[in-house]
């Protein structure tokens, strides 16, 4: 049996890199390592198929010499599909684990930003309704007296009360 040296070197490098990366702590790197090792194994299966013409299922045709052994390719295809499915699952798992790491014990309950607010504190951040009315009246009066260029419009100087920074941003 002869095999392509390029493929063998490529396979060896992929195995070496893949295993090294799999030993990292980060899950994403482990996944990348797994994909490299998985594909290196696929290459291995391709290599063991041997050279063309060695094992054609149909013999006696003109193209015998060009036919490759179909079995390793079928095995490889199956392995690729399996690896694809597993990779998708591990990606979901990594995302889930990242999500849990971000939120800690809160799990997947998105925190209520106003959970600590009391009614009194909430009231204090709002202006009373009659103040609104007064302001509106003032603006209306100002627009009626358009001819008096000097009358300045009084604007409430207090800026709107800013909401607290969101816990999600804090966590990041």
């Amino acid at each position: 049996m002869t095999a392509s040296l390029t493929l063998i070197i490529l396979m060896a490098v992929m195995y070496a890199v893949g295993i090294t990366v799999m030993l990292e702590r980060s899950l994403t790197r482990v996944l990348i390592g797994f994909m490299l090792v998985g594909n290196a194994t696929n290459l291995l299966i391709l290599i063991v198929g041997g050279e063309n013409g060695s094992a054609p299922i149909v013999t006696g045709t003109a193209s015998d010499a060009a036919m490759a052994d179909p079995v390793p390719q079928v095995l490889m295809l199956t392995a690729i599909v399996i690896n694809f499915g597993i990779t998708a699952f591990v990606l979901a798992l990594i995302y889930r684990s990242w999500w849990l790491a971000q939120l800690g014990d809160q799990g997947d309950v998105v925190p209520d930003q106003h959970v600590d607010d009391t009614e009194a504190a909430t009231d204090a951040t709002f202006d009373a309704v009659d103040l609104d009315d007064a302001a509106v009246q003032e603006v209306l009066d100002a627009s009626n007296e358009r001819s008096d260029a000097a009358a300045p419009i009084e604007v409430d100087p207090t800026p709107p009360v800013d909401s607290e920074p969101k816990p999600e941003e804090e966590a990041r």
Binding site: M1, V37, V48, L75, A79, I82, I86, L93, L100
Partner: protein
């Protein structure tokens, strides 16, 4: 008869598809999964009766002859395994349904649980009947992929952590398995097991050895054989009770089954009995010593699970027909008893609110029925006569004495010691959790108990006791009845196991059944 073999795999797969479509209708889902597993059980009984009288059934999928097409081989061993796992899967399914109904599905989200569970079942059955090494790989991937989902159900922090370890270990072993298949194909030009068995003999001895060890490494990780067993006690106990029960009972045994096939069919000329015995010795002792140090019942049981795999490896390493028969009997016994104990522990957790023996007490008074269920399982696992655990061990030890090498006597001693230490660990659980009155729990101090390791996720809290649904108790009782059945009918079962072993131990029988006209 030929149609039954593929049906054993197809029915759970079809059931999984239907259950997935019926995701919104819980009752329909339960009906589908129960029905398909019951059907497999019935088919397996019919198949066993047929195979036992008429010999191995070989099915060529798609009509292609053996070396080119994929074959399913249902010999006695395969069908026994299918039958016992189908019974066990059915029992655990009923337990899970009972739990789901009681808890409103928080622990086991039903829409995902049932299809995944059935795919796990299909993978397990396929692994048993596969007559083709690559088909076995696909079966392993099926059951592993399903087990990843089941282990990380509901995606809580603890389960994700445990799941990541488990998945990476399993992926690595799958890659080793696949690479081993590639090497075997390179050496023999086939993946049909019967043909590999024939062609492997022509290879140089060292090549045979490397191929055999590559394959065994992959299977030993799955079977949790020391030193590849470290992942098991950390990952299994975090899953929901029914899932842990299935994993503990079945998944490691699929690995053991694959080791039997490797040793008795594929590589009969490779002599690795002595390394296997050493590994069996270490598995037995290290596993049970781990169990002694645990306060958490689930972790304790996981360590005894690792330990008792050592008995089966011991049986395989002896290699005689009597030893194989005892191994087969022991596998059947261990599947049922380990599952039963995990289910009973699930019940204890509901009654007592925890699984740590440091905080459990008075279970005997709180629920005598649960206590009896746990007690029978514990005595059985501990190898007390007349239970099946005792009979299996006696069979193994007899075969070991027949072999008569010094190493086999050492292993018999280790086996007896392991049995005693298992009993000690379980009796301590009994004394603390069941016999001790619940009033004594607070302020109870003992230097021995303080040194025990709690589960890593144990917060030291005791959740209040929950209602124990009748369905869960019924399922556990059914499993206990099965273990007692194994004891009562141990004679005929042992004879069946002997016939299966005679069939399995002689690889030419296997080859002849796949290639009735001889290999061209």
């Amino acid at each position: 008869m030929n149609a039954i073999v593929p049906l054993v795999v197809l029915l759970p797969l079809a059931g999984a598809a239907v259950a997935l479509v019926l995701g919104r209708f819980r009752r329909a889902q339960i009906a589908v999964s129960t029905l398909s597993l019951t059907a497999v059980t019935v088919l397996a009984i019919i198949l066993l009766a047929h195979v036992d009288t008429h010999g191995t059934v070989v099915v060529e999928i798609g009509g292609w002859d053996a070396p080119f097409g994929i074959v399913l081989v249902a010999d006695r061993l395969a069908v026994i395994m299918v039958l016992i796992s189908a019974l066990m899967l059915l029992g655990v399914l009923i337990f899970a349904v009972g739990q789901g109904i009681a808890d409103g599905d928080r622990e086991t989200p039903v829409s995902i649980f049932h299809p995944t569970y059935l795919i796990l079942a299909a993978g397990v059955f396929d692994a048993f009947v596969a007559g083709d090494l690559f088909n076995m790989y696909v079966a392993f991937e099926m059951l592993l992929a399903a087990s990843y989902v089941l282990l990380t159900l509901a995606g809580t922090g603890a389960r994700i952590r445990a799941g990541v370890t488990y998945i990476i270990i399993s992926l690595t072993s799958s890659i080793i398995f696949l690479a081993a298949i590639a090497f075997i194909y390179a050496a023999t030009g086939t993946v049909t097991m019967a043909l590999i068995a024939e062609r492997v003999r022509d290879l140089p001895a060292d090549v045979q050895l490397i191929l055999c060890i590559a394959l065994l490494t992959a299977f030993c990780v799955k079977a949790a054989v020391f030193p590849m067993s470290f992942w098991l006690p950390d990952s299994y106990p975090t899953a929901p009770a029914p899932v842990t029960a299935v994993f503990a009972g079945l998944l490691t045994k699929v690995g053991v089954y694959a080791i039997i096939r490797t040793d008795t069919v594929l590589f009969t000329d490779v002599d690795i009995d002595i390394p296997l015995m050493v590994i069996a010795f270490l598995t037995l002792i290290v596993g049970v010593l781990g169990a002694l140090a645990q306060a958490d019942i689930k972790r304790l049981l996981s360590f005894t699970l690792v330990s008792h795999i050592g008995y089966m490896i011991f049986g395989i390493s002896i290699g005689s027909t009597a030893a194989l028969a005892a191994t087969i009997f022991y596998i059947v016994h261990h599947i049922t008893v380990q599952t039963t104990l995990f289910l009973a522990t699930g019940l204890v957790e509901r009654v007592g609110g925890t699984t740590s023996i440091n905080r459990l007490g008075g279970i005997l008074r709180a629920s005598p029925l649960v206590s009896v269920l746990f007690f029978i399982g514990a005595m059985n696992l501990g190898g007390i006569p007349p239970f099946s655990g005792f009979l299996g061990k006696v069979g193994l030890f007899q075969a070991g004495v027949e072999l008569g090498t010094p190493l086999s006597y050492v292993l018999i001693g280790a086996g007896a010691l392991t049995s005693l230490l298992t009993l000690y660990a379980l009796v301590r659980v009994w004394n603390m959790a069941f016999w001790r009155s619940s009033a004594d729990v607070a302020g109870y101090s003992s230097p021995l108990l303080d040194s025990l390791a709690e589960g890593p996720e144990d917060e030291g809290e005791t959740v209040g006791s929950k209602r124990v649904p009748a369905l869960m108790v019924a399922a556990t009782t059914g499993m206990v009845a099965l273990t007692i059945g194994l004891t009562v009918f141990a004679g005929p079962l042992f004879e069946l196991a002997s016939r299966a072993a005679a069939n399995t131990g002689n690889e030419s029988t296997y080859v002849e059944s796949v290639f009735p006209g001889g290999i061209q």
